[in-house]
């Protein structure tokens, strides 16, 4: 075999700094994990049942590249009903294999070599690498803990240059739980509008917004034609493993994304699409119950963390808390490793989400209340000894 079998581009991708830590966690038994980036609920039964039924009925084929008409129709109806947001079922909606695929598609659809994408840091791990694989350049906006890791208009302005083609927003945010009010988004939107930048808005945690109403970016004045709105079923409906999400946006971008999607993926799995239909039209009670449960845990977790001296902003949404561990004097990596080894509690070092995460850890409260209680008590013991 020839040497250099792996492409230069992939070689140059930054390796995940905490792979070793993940391996350590996965290799240990009886760990209480607060390090999981997905709901602790199983997909509600009515959704699972509809998927089983669809298999029995023989829905085992490809679907249209864009996704089942039925699903796209329900998505359009749902967005209209929830936010007054109107998208054309045929031309402006694409069903994808999770939001992850949609992010990859949109980056590949819009970026030319040298184009920059603004990405907040800390942020979800895939944005930067995906932008770079697509031939673009990730330009990170360093968010300040002083602002609770919120993107401010000043920070945004400072980072815009003529090569910036798009900005990726994710709110409520993984890992910080930060979200934005309509007013805050409005301020960002006027700057974005002035510089004519495309917005890629990953709003997969939108249903899990606790203190104010979630505002989808395309509902802001003038933003619809400049925004690719991404959402999915993983978080609100506890459907991570089904891999189904969607993108809505201007016809031109959705068409371009569909072009790539048809060659690389063909279509999202039909069973998952059928399940997603049921998620949208079925009873909302389980979804609301899950949200209420997260909200209560959020109160518990943030108050316990602050009590033990790990200062922690109350997250606006998602199911993560992002407390500072600076007072322990340990680095994020060391804190997480020692906590794991001595107390068998797993958290994710903040540095996994960018250098700005140093001094922080991500705690997921997508865990049963008893587990949270026990894990936080162990953390408290750990901190007292350090």
């Amino acid at each position: 075999m020839k040497k250099n079998i792996v492409s230069q581009k992939v070689k140059e991708m930054r390796p995940s700094g905490i792979r070793a830590f993940f391996d350590l966690v996965l290799g240990m038994e009886d760990v209480i994990s607060l390090g999981v980036g997905e709901p602790d609920f199983v997909t509600p039964w009515h959704i699972r049942e509809s998927a089983i039924y669809s298999i029995e009925e023989g829905y085992t084929s490809y679907t249209s590249n864009k996704g089942l008409v039925k699903l796209r129709t329900y998505i359009a109806q749902n967005l209209k009903k929830r936010f007054g947001l109107k998208y054309d079922t045929n031309e402006e909606i694409l069903v994808t294999v999770g939001v992850s695929e949609a992010i990859d598609l949109v980056m590949r659809a819009i970026l030319n070599p040298g184009d920059k994408v603004l990405i907040c840091s800390p942020s979800y791990v895939s944005y930067g690498p995906v932008a770079e694989l697509a031939g673009g350049q990730a330009k990170f906006i360093s968010l300040k803990p002083g602002n609770g890791f919120k993107l401010t208009p000043q920070d945004l302005k400072k980072n815009i240059d003529p090569d910036v083609k798009a900005i990726l927003l994710n709110y409520p945010c993984n890992p910080t739980g930060v979200s934005y009010t309509k007013k805050e988004l409005g301020a960002l939107n006027s700057i974005i509008e002035k510089h004519d930048i495309l917005v890629i808005s990953d709003e997969v945690y939108d249903e899990l917004t606790y203190d104010f109403d979630h505002t989808p970016f395309p509902t802001l004045p003038g933003a619809r034609g400049r925004t690719v709105y991404l959402n999915g079923f993983s978080k609100a409906y506890a459907m991570t493993g089904w891999r189904v999400g969607f993108a809505c946006g201007p016809k031109e971008v959705i068409q371009a994304m569909t072009k790539i999607h048809q060659y690389t993926i063909m279509c999202a799995p039909i069973v998952s699409q059928m399940a997603a239909c049921e998620a949208l039209v079925g009873p909302r009670k389980p979804i609301e119950e899950m949200k209420r449960e997260y909200q209560r845990r959020r109160e518990f977790v943030t108050s316990r963390l602050n009590e033990m001296g790990l200062s922690c902003h109350k997250p606006d949404g998602a199911f993560y808390a992002f407390p500072s561990i600076k007072k322990t004097g340990l680095s994020s990596g060391l804190f997480a490793t020692r906590l794991l080894k001595s107390k068998k509690v797993a958290v994710v070092p903040g540095t996994a989400f960018g250098p700005e995460g140093e001094g922080y850890v991500r705690i997921s409260y997508a865990s049963g209340f008893d587990q949270l209680k026990e894990a936080l008590s162990r953390m408290e013991e750990f901190i007292k000894k350090n």
Partner: protein, 161 residues
């Protein structure tokens, strides 16, 4: 329903401190509220949910649902008859229903014989009881919202982004 009641219904062992943190109230408020609920008879007690299917010693686990047709009494309706029936210690629940019969009882006994004896000797001969149908319970799947089986485990990875 008040969140405090909801939380207690889910786990009666939850402490006022924990409730306070979950609901963003202060502990004294929570304690006061619980006291009031206890005093007003909203909170009648706290008990464990036992999955008797898992018990080795299966004694005392025969249950029957009994449909009872009764003759209502003048001026008193069903209430007085119901009271005479539900006062028996064997009756663990008693409901008045619409439909083809009037009262539905849940009766517990040590064994089949005990329950049968209750029906034959105490319930059926009662003056206002016109007829009974007894269904012995074979298996419990779900009770009061609790599924009586080992919890569905979510097969998540222990750590992920």
């Amino acid at each position: 329903m008040d969140v405090i009641l909801e939380l207690l219904r889910k786990d009666a062992r939850i402490t006022p401190q924990e409730i306070a943190k979950l609901t963003k109230k202060n502990v004294d408020q929570v304690k006061k509220k619980i006291k009031k609920y206890e005093k007003d008879g909203v909170l009648l007690g706290y008990k464990a949910i036992v999955n008797k299917e898992m018990l080795e010693d299966k004694e005392g686990e025969v249950r029957a649902l009994i449909e009872v047709k009764v003759m209502p009494q003048k001026d008193l309706g069903f209430d007085k008859v119901a009271e005479r029936i539900f006062s028996f210690p064997e009756v663990t629940s008693c409901y008045l229903l619409s439909g083809s019969y009037d009262l539905l009882l849940v009766v517990e006994g040590r064994d089949l014989k005990t329950v049968s004896r209750f029906v034959a000797e105490k319930l059926s001969p009662m003056e206002n009881v016109r007829g009974t149908v007894t269904h012995f319970l074979l298996k419990k799947y779900k009770e009061d919202g609790v599924m009586l089986k080992s919890k569905e485990e979510h097969k998540r990875l222990a750590i992920s982004y």
